[in-house]
């Protein structure tokens, strides 16, 4: 025997008394507790009994999850005074049995492996709810909304190569994630020379820098005179040779 008090932002909406289980909670009409709100799943959660004398709240894989006293749960024993949170609504759980018939609340052991990660479920929130949650979280850490609105500082990399010989002298900005070097007319940087592959090498822009990789052809690319068989990170001033084409690599970093 227990009572549920349905609240929305501290306003009591309804009180229910139940003498048997299961008691279902959800948005649809066929639930024992109907909460008409889009944040609540059709069949959101259920209260069951567990031997010898426990009440248990079970989340029915709801979209936004079920919480007991602000902790997300999959299945958890509930005790007199617990707050069950479903969507934006709270259900206060009041055990109506005589005190001696109620179980004793112990610090509950997390679900899943002892000491391991807790049972988890992914949640989708709309953009507004996300922003509110982020601001609240930041606020708890003493960070103001203004600070939060500032874009994080990040380092932008600007790489370029300058053709020195064996091709048209020019500077090519490496703005693409992948810049191809080779004999093929599709190559971003055309090279000549015996045994140079159609795609002889690729320069890959990664978050941590630029990398030159060997692709195909018998003639391997060289960086500072060293033959590249897989890939090497490029540094400002490096000299790249592919066949008879020589070029230098330049790297500029900007903090934005």
């Amino acid at each position: 025997m227990f009572k549920l008090i349905l609240k929305f932002q501290d306003t009591v909406i309804e009180e229910y008394e139940f003498h048997s289980t299961p008691v279902t909670i959800g948005r649809r009409d066929d639930n024992n507790v109907v909460i008409d709100n889009m944040a609540v799943s059709g069949h959101h959660a259920v209260i069951e009994q567990e031997d010898p004398n426990f009440y248990v709240l079970v989340d029915l894989e709801s979209l936004n999850g079920t919480f007991v006293n602000e902790t997300k749960i999959a299945r958890q024993r509930i005790f007199d005074g617990d707050a069950l949170i479903v969507g934006k609504h709270t259900l206060s759980f009041i055990d109506l049995r005589p005190v001696e018939e109620r179980p004793i609340k112990q610090d509950s052991v997390p679900e899943g492996v002892a000491g391991g990660p807790q049972f988890r479920d992914t949640v989708i929130l709309d953009t507004k709810a996300q922003q509110e949650l982020l601001a609240k979280h930041a606020g708890e850490r003493g960070i103001s909304p203004e600070q939060l609105a500032e874009k994080p500082k990040k380092v932008d990399l600007y790489g370029s190569v300058t053709i020195i010989s064996g091709g048209t002298p020019e500077i090519i900005d490496l703005t693409k994630r992948l810049t191809t070097i080779g004999k093929s007319s599709d190559s971003d940087i055309r090279c000549s020379g015996l045994l140079v592959g159609k795609t002889a090498a690729l320069i890959n822009k990664r978050p941590n820098g630029y990398f030159l990789a060997y692709a195909e052809g018998l003639k391997k690319p060289e960086v500072n005179g060293e033959s590249v068989t897989t890939q090497v990170q490029l540094h400002d001033g490096d000299e790249i040779t592919v066949g008879s084409t020589r070029m230098t690599f330049n790297l500029r970093e900007e903090i934005s």
């Binding site: 059709g42 391991g116 929130l125 996300q130 982020l134 990789a213």
Partner: protein, 260 residues
Amino acid sequence: MIVETWGKTDVGKHRLTNEDCLYVDSEGRLILVLDGMGGHRAGEVASRLAMETISEFYGRHVKSTDVDLDLFDNYDDSFTFHANLLRQAAYKANRTVVEKSQEREEFVGMGSTLTGVAIHDFTASMINVGDSRMYLIRDGTIEQISKDHTLAEDQIERGIMSREEARESQLRHILSSVIGVDSRVRVHMDELTVFPGDIFLLCTDGLNAVMEDHEILEEVMRSKPGPDVLERLIQIVNDRGSPDNTTLALSVLFEENEEE
């Protein structure tokens, strides 16, 4: 380069349904892993619909030689055609799932994560939405190539939380981008050159819920890449309680045999 891919999915011990989806094309060059969400099998509908939309769109346009710019919402010149095509496919899937979710009450709010990779021309082009991940395993190291779209990751970027704190934070369960919920969707896109011996692992968060990156690496390195690796990973996930569905795809790149 030759690509060999294996996949495996497991419902886990706490779920009744498997809402994950896995797609590998006949040549193993397009691989998609999706994690659907939403009650009453709606998650299954969302992930499956997204998967079908993306694989169909990508397959239909990948062979075209001329880039038809009308196809794209926005074409990013700093990425290859393949990467742009994948991202456009994700945009299309997003619209399709949003429309579907308005058809029936039980579909409201359904959505799906996505991680996908296309391997072509010495290149891996990848995209992801949500918290399904893609790892590159190369020279005995593991690197996460995908970017988690979670509020925890957002707070890390803002410098409000450290990566260590984020690992324990409840914010890591809240997605900041997902297919099928909003008319606009954030898609992370990246490209890298690939080499023989490279291994890609795509996974839903069922794996990451119970295994750290270094543990995943150890397990993958324990034997030759193949279906056994996936069996072992699923076994570990189940031994650790498998709270969620788990879906894995493992791709290995080989040198083409040039001897005639």
